[in-house]
Symmetry: C2
Subunit: 212 residues, 2 copies
């Protein structure tokens, strides 16, 4: 295992030339995080479980937070679904973003990860910002209008996270029992405005004194 | 302590005729939940700490979930701020609701409770729905338009929870560093539409093909 081989595969696609080592570390991390929880897991224990030197774990994945997010992220930055979403005309992205987010939460593998990340974000303060910046970078910043891009992406994140929390974690009946189309009618316009709308304009649908 | 005295004070205002017993139970519950976490706390341990019979705890507060929420709730149903909000004309409630929610999260006492409830809602599945139904009943259902009231209240809850999560728990810089006025420009129109707008109408601010 050389440094250059490791660099070449780092962060690019699911499998590089040294896929086994990288994959071994990820599998070990999933076991250790799953058994002990985020706070009680160490890079040293993960390295031992994977049979590699801790320095190699750092080389591939950086900090413990970054490794955790890498194990738990439901979506790769270069996921084809994100590229498809970014290729849509801007006015159709709100609805498509909502549907992609709901489909991730309804996927058995991704939803376990999303729930674990949400729980860790509440209880382990150091995970939250890393998770949030990945969600913004991997998904939302690829979709927003250029002006006030960070505010737009963060606003989308707040609505998507809150909806997922109510529908999938709390299972509030009104949210949990709604169809995707019903949710789209309510939430896609919000996302659409955050992604591409005029953030300072009042919304005629919501202002009693604006003509319809 | 008679049953009728307990019934008379139950759920009405901060202090009834048997305020000390009720207050003692709440104080004991706060200690036990704080020390042991939600899952490991029992009504029996809380009763012992308060020096009362477990049946009395049940009589006042119902289930463990209900007692937890009662200890942790940041806002009473008859809070004067909620009444003031409900007395506003509907078109001004979105902004006022946003400002009330932000002020609770910036209050040192209320924010500790909100964070604890959020963490418990993720980790202890049985707390979440009770918490959510209290938030809807104590606050949001008093503010929404009559048609589709539950959907409206739940939609407000998703946006408020997601924003609080991003700003106060994750502390995403874009959200954490924004002023209340800046947040209002972005989020109040969303809440206004959920509270009182046309949920099926497209939002001109967000649709590229609708004239402004």
């Amino acid at each position: 295992m050389t440094g250059s081989a490791a660099s070449a595969s780092r962060g690019r696609g699911p499998r590089g030339g040294d896929a086994d080592t990288r994959g071994d570390i990820l599998a070990a991390a999933a076991r250790i995080f799953g058994d002990k929880g985020y706070a009680a897991s160490s890079l040293r224990a993960i390295a031992r479980d994977a049979g590699v030197d801790p320095a190699l774990v750092r080389h591939y994945f950086g900090t413990k937070q970054e490794l955790f997010i890498e194990v738990m992220r439901p979506l790769e930055r270069d996921d084809a679904r994100v590229a498809a979403l970014a290729s849509l005309p801007p006015e159709r992205r709100g609805d498509a973003l909502l549907r992609l987010a709901l489909s991730l939460w309804e996927d058995p593998v991704a939803s376990v990860r999303l729930r674990a990340v949400l729980a860790s974000a509440v209880s382990a303060a150091e995970v939250g910002p890393t998770m949030a910046s990945m969600m913004l970078r991997d998904l939302l910043l690829q979709l927003v209008r250029e002006d006030r891009a960070l505010e737009r992406a963060a606003a989308c994140a707040t609505q998507l996270t809150g909806l997922a929390f109510g529908r999938y974690v709390l299972a509030i009946p009104t949210l949990a029992e709604a169809s995707v189309d019903e949710l789209s009618a309510i939430y896609a316009p919000t996302l659409q405005r955050y992604l591409d709308g005029d953030l300072d304009a009042p919304l005629p649908g919501g202002e009693a004194d604006v003509p319809r």
